[in-house]
């Protein structure tokens, strides 16, 4: 199947539209729909031919199209605190209102929850399962306090994968086809590989990749990892970026110069993609990478359930501060970063409460300047454009100073 006349952007748009449309169609046909967390072992679901949608993707879309407030308001009037993750508030509100101008997903028949991204999803999905009175498959991927992934954790996750298979067989009334599962694992590894190759091209100076584009492609690494269309998409994206990289073409269509390369730590402020992007671009600042690409680069030996378990328990959010700091510093060096912009995301305590220490190590060990700004992934009330602009300017000034010191052209 070749889509050579489509750009990866066009293909991305098509695939995402199809993803949502298929889900709605499936529900209408009486097929069961699964709600899953974003870095879950989707391989099992794909192998069982289940229709899956990802509430985090959906909440981000709602946030980006500025429709979050009505859902947040709805959740808060039920008693949900403003303190909790805004993805959860949007989704809880959506579970009540069930319609958005931005994008729609069908209501779930099964919940598939992997706790590797945070503890919040456990409470969020526990509530959704109770609300709809539907089964929940929990894949508890425990935290690794030591630098390396703990073997006990891996064994536990593997055990739960086996449980999950049994539960899925029960739910669908079908047996797991282990050949198909291996095939899906192979596809997933391939897709993840192309994702990594594509995002790694940002290593080039100038980077052919505009980081905010990476934010857009994230939705598909979440929902199409186990599908050939996913592999296609990321391979195509890689090829486009490679061509640009070979031609030393920078990130922006208008050929503006990439003056500064930064890491954006944390997720995007979806309701403010426009302003956050524009203020960076205006200053010639390109977000070149973040810790997110690595979290979906889930590679393991296909057919080996234990290795898959290890891969899912190894992601950034389940590692200790030394590992997390090393990863960021590593990225900063590999991608030749001039500065780091830390998004202190009100919804994400897990990420936020490590930022101060990581920032200190960045300064101390690499002398790279950084700033922190307050924002939120989907709640538009927690962001001040004035504060963001001031902080970005401050970062630019620091990066300029640094370049001057190094004798580089600004």
């Amino acid at each position: 199947m070749s889509e050579t006349n489509l750009t990866s952007k066009e293909l991305l748009s098509q695939l995402l539209q199809a993803h949502y449309a298929e889900a709605i169609a499936a529900k209408a046909e009486g097929k069961p729909v699964v709600w899953s967390t974003s870095i879950a072992p989707q391989e099992l679901l794909e192998a069982m031919d289940l229709t899956v949608v990802y509430p985090e993707n959906h909440a981000a879309a709602i946030g980006a199209r500025k429709d979050a407030p009505q859902f947040i308001s709805n959740a808060e009037s039920e008693g949900y605190s403003v303190d909790i993750c805004s993805y959860a508030r949007v989704n809880m509100g959506y579970a009540n209102l069930q319609f958005s101008e931005a994008e729609n997903i069908p209501m779930p028949d099964l919940i598939y929850c992997c706790s590797n991204i945070c503890c919040t999803v456990i409470k969020w999905y526990e509530n959704i399962a109770k609300k709809f009175n539907i089964p929940l498959i929990m894949l508890d991927a425990p935290f690794n306090p030591s630098y390396e992934v703990a073997e006990d954790n891996v064994i536990f996750v593997e055990g739960q994968l086996k449980d999950a298979i049994a539960k899925l067989e029960d739910f669908t009334g079908r047996k797991m086809d282990y050949d198909r599962l291996k095939e899906v694992m192979e596809i997933s590894n391939e897709t993840a590989t192309w994702w990594k190759k594509a995002t790694d091209l940002a290593v080039n100076v100038p980077s052919p990749l505009n980081g905010f584009d990476m934010f857009n492609y994230m939705a598909t690494i979440v929902c199409l990892r186990g599908r050939k269309t996913g592999t296609q998409l990321f391979k195509l994206w890689y090829e486009e970026l490679k061509e640009k990289a070979d031609g030393s073409i920078g990130p922006w269509k208008d050929s503006a110069e990439e003056k500064y390369r930064i890491i954006w730590d944390g997720i995007a402020c979806w309701p403010y993609l426009g302003p956050t992007y524009k203020i960076l671009k205006k200053n010639g600042v390109n977000m070149v990478t973040s810790t997110y690409p690595e979290s979906w680069t889930i590679l393991y030996e296909p057919g080996d359930l234990r290795d898959m378990a290890r891969a899912y328990d190894s992601i950034y959010t389940q590692r200790n501060i030394d590992y997390a700091a090393d990863r960021l510093l590593n990225l900063a060096t590999t991608f030749q970063i001039d500065g780091v912009l830390f998004h202190s995301n009100r919804s994400c305590k897990g990420m936020d409460f490590k930022q101060f220490e990581i920032q200190r190590r960045l300064t101390r060990e690499l002398g790279i300047p950084s700033v922190i700004f307050d924002g939120d992934q989907t709640d538009p009330n927690i962001f001040s454009e004035a504060q963001y602009e001031t902080r970005v300017q401050a970062l630019v000034e620091m990066m300029a100073e640094n370049k001057k010191k190094k004798g580089e052209k600004i």
Partner: protein, 380 residues
């Protein structure tokens, strides 16, 4: 001062002066001390090592050292623990255990070795998923890992017999605690909300065997008094913790009786009965597996609403008081779910948002008093 007052005052003073109390106990028992972060830790293993487990549930500390590590929107107990750690309050401990029940605790565990490097941490990872046959296996292996880490830290071996004995001590303690909270219903004046809490809190700083004896002695002495009645709302209190003292005084001021509690700091520590079969370690694991109605663990078919309704009915409560600890995500997620169930049954709810360190309780006083006025109006 009569016997009962004397005994109560002792507990009161201990709860008010944790460090002094622990120091005294260390001297009188010759034991070293080991700190225990919330919510649940394998205290029995620590006790089996001949060391005093000390509860670390925050404190009346408001500092700024912790701001170097954590943004402001963090649970006040965790902030207080970090602040106290950085101020040297815990230096006398031989080590501490930090479990990971929520994202904030994971981050605290991550930051502690950097912020408080001289107070050694042994991490503990609980399974959130307790429904798998692998869950108990995982938990038991975590207990054993903790045991060997502790043995290395203290340079001493913990025998199976030590653990069995320790477990028995803790079981006796739990039985006594369950009787105590029950007793409050018959002596709501003497065991008013503040006194009730402080007596329970004192157990965090005492040797459990000694504490249990003293508690029993107090209960016997109290039972010799005529039963009491208080004219005010009878409530079930739920949440992470009910502190500080001035906050609890507001309830006493308005004639409230805490007929039962569903607090992580109190009854959730001792309400789950151990299974009758198995080794001590197995029983400890299954107590965790069997725990219901606590948001700090994943629970299929969340049963907290049912638990609260049952408690309210059993003790003829007029209402449920929710102590919502600010910034506590697990509790914040649970609230709308059990609120809905209580609303459906027409059970009154008083929702109070609290932090451990409160400069002024005047605003809470209004809420608590208004609620009492509302309830007593309904009754009359």
């Amino acid at each position: 001062m009569n016997q009962v007052e004397l005994l109560i005052n002792q507990f009161l003073e201990e709860a008010r002066n944790p460090k002094q109390t622990v120091t005294n106990v260390m001297v009188s028992t010759g034991k070293k001390a080991f700190g225990c972060f919330p919510i649940y830790v394998p205290e029995e293993i620590i006790y089996a090592a001949g060391v005093l487990p000390v509860g670390m549930w925050g404190g009346q500390t408001q500092g700024s050292k912790v701001n170097a590590y954590i943004q402001s929107f963090c649970c006040s107990i965790m902030r207080a623990n970090m602040e106290q750690g950085m101020a040297g309050t815990y230096d006398f401990l031989d080590g501490i255990i930090i479990p990971t029940f929520c994202d904030t605790m994971k981050a605290i565990l991550a930051n502690w070795p950097v912020a408080v490097p001289h107070v050694k941490v042994i991490p503990f990872v609980y399974p959130q998923n307790r429904t798998s046959e692998y869950s108990a296996q995982f938990l038991i292996s975590q207990f054993r890992n903790f045991q060997s880490n502790l043995e290395n830290l203290l340079s001493k071996k913990i025998s199976e017999a030590d653990i069995e004995n320790s477990f028995l001590t803790y079981e006796k303690y739990r039985v006594a605690m369950r009787e105590f909270v029950e007793l409050v219903n018959y002596y709501p004046k003497t065991l008013n909300p503040k006194i009730r809490h402080m007596i329970i809190k004192a157990s965090n700083f005492n040797d459990k065997a000694v504490y249990t004896k003293r508690l029993r002695h107090l209960m016997e002495s109290i039972k010799e008094m005529p039963q009491e009645r208080v004219h005010g709302p009878k409530v079930v209190i739920t949440g992470l913790m009910a502190e500080p003292e001035q906050f609890l005084d507001l309830f006493t001021e308005n004639g409230y009786t805490f007929v039962a509690d569903d607090l992580a700091h109190e009854s959730r520590q001792f309400r789950t009965r151990a299974r009758s079969e198995g080794t001590a370690i197995e029983k400890m694991a299954y107590r965790i597996i069997d725990l219901r109605g606590c948001p700090f663990f994943y629970e299929e078919n969340k049963s907290r609403g049912t638990l609260l309704k049952t408690l309210a009915k059993k003790y003829n409560a007029d209402a449920v008081v929710v102590c919502m600890f600010k910034f506590c995500d697990p509790e914040e997620f649970d609230y709308p779910v059990y609120k809905n169930e209580l609303d459906k049954d027409g059970i009154n709810i008083l929702y109070l948002e609290i932090e451990q360190q409160m400069d002024s309780v005047a605003q809470l006083r209004t809420r608590i008093q208004s609620f009492s006025e509302m309830i007593m109006n309904e009754i009359n």
